[in-house]
Symmetry: C2
Subunit: 255 residues, 2 copies
């Protein structure tokens, strides 16, 4: 029975997709049956794994809008144990299209419930917003993983996300937990970066897990998606690769 984890943060460009792809690859490489669902109409997770945006017959749009079963939209990737449910730009207008639909926040949950027995992990890559797609993801999830960039005002953006999580816990999914915060694009030489890391760890001490693994700013991590492969296949001996491997091991509970 899969553990379903949303990768969410309404701020743009904080490393949600990079975390989703890299973590999915690490889990798969450790022998876990892993499904990555691309919930962003930008389809960056789909593209970053080497597939084209509007090419697949069925995508997350058809699953949410047309009731196509998830098993008819997902496919096996070139990476062993890793499956992808791709996105396309049809999901762009989805909030408006489903505005009157019954139980619209649980569409994804009901769709994933039918296939979750096949996987160990299902990761949901969310778009940079707290709208329909992210709420569906949170409603369908066991937990949410929050990538945060170590920059001035990073904490401010978290307030809104935590409010949304609390709202979902209260009215849609009481079992939603917070998997933890992962610090991304960290530049250890920068005083500001180190100060923000310290502030975040102190603030959440005892309340929300902040993973020990910190993802460094890495040129290789920014290049991997343009080659359509995860970092562990693109440059496995670099800091970007082993920081995500360490994160995956922390997640799986391997010490």
């Amino acid at each position: 029975q899969a553990r379903i984890i949303s990768i969410a943060n309404q701020k743009g460009g904080v490393g949600k997709t990079t975390t989703a792809i890299s973590l999915a690859a690490v889990l798969a490489e450790h022998g876990k049956q892993t499904l990555l669902c691309d919930l962003d109409p930008q389809a960056h997770a789909t593209i970053g794994l080497g597939y084209q945006k509007n090419q697949a017959q069925n995508s997350i749009s058809e699953v949410l809008l047309d009731g196509v079963p998830a098993s008819d939209a997902l496919f096996k990737t070139r990476i062993e144990n890793l499956f992808l449910l791709p996105a396309n730009s049809n999901a762009l207008g989805i909030e408006v299209q489903l505005i009157d639909a019954e139980n619209r926040e649980t569409i994804l949950k009901r769709s994933l419930d039918s296939i979750r027995y096949k996987y160990d992990y299902i990761l949901l890559d969310c778009p940079p917003s707290l709208g329909f797609l992210t709420v569906n993801a949170l409603t369908a999830s066991d937990s949410v993983l929050i990538p945060m960039q170590c920059e001035f005002l990073a904490m401010e953006g978290l307030v809104q996300l935590l409010n949304t999580i609390a709202h979902v816990q209260k009215s849609l999914n009481p079992s939603l937990g917070i998997e933890g915060i992962v610090l991304t694009m960290h530049d250890a030489r920068t005083k500001l970066s180190r100060e923000v890391e310290t502030e975040i760890r102190q603030y959440f001490e005892g309340r929300i897990r902040v993973f020990e693994s910190v993802i460094p700013r890495s040129i290789k991590l920014s290049e991997a998606p343009s080659h359509g492969v995860p970092i562990t296949q693109y440059a496995n001996l670099t800091a970007g690769a082993w920081s995500y491997t360490n994160l995956g091991e922390e997640l799986m509970g391997i010490e």
Copy 2:
């Protein structure tokens, strides 16, 4: 009569606010009467100039929601020739609150028309979305300046923005022009960064100006807002400062 320029891009974290603050400071330092309007409920431009988020009596929210005159919300900053119309989080629900309002896309335009004779430049710092606030900004503007990060898939995000601009030109503001694209957070050592820059310049050759000034990734630029001052006051001899000074001179037409 002020030139009104929107700083817009729906992608998060691409340097809109940093560009708005830095450019406003450069223009003011060159003796131009400059007004910076913070249109983002996150209020990062307000905070980056050293002011607190929900402290001001009147902000952009009161101007747009309650019809408070812009002159009652803006104030002179500590920087000579630079004025600020701050934001606060009241603007968070603004789209919903004004959903039935008459002529809601021109509220900002009508408000700025009454004060534009006082300034040489009015810069509008937009939030990372193509919703109500950005549409109001574009409708009120002579032109739009687009910060773009030199990363994989940067071009893709531009399509939506250009569509929105075309839509505004067609139905709300036929005189809206595109001031140009400014490349931000550029890492000249990175092959990907240089490839994306080349791609952008070639693609828009003869159609949209791509400024010669490229803003480098700079630790000082990320630190300045935490000190509440623009880069030209924080670290005027660094690459971050002179690249924005060059950008300002390109904008003003000084060679």
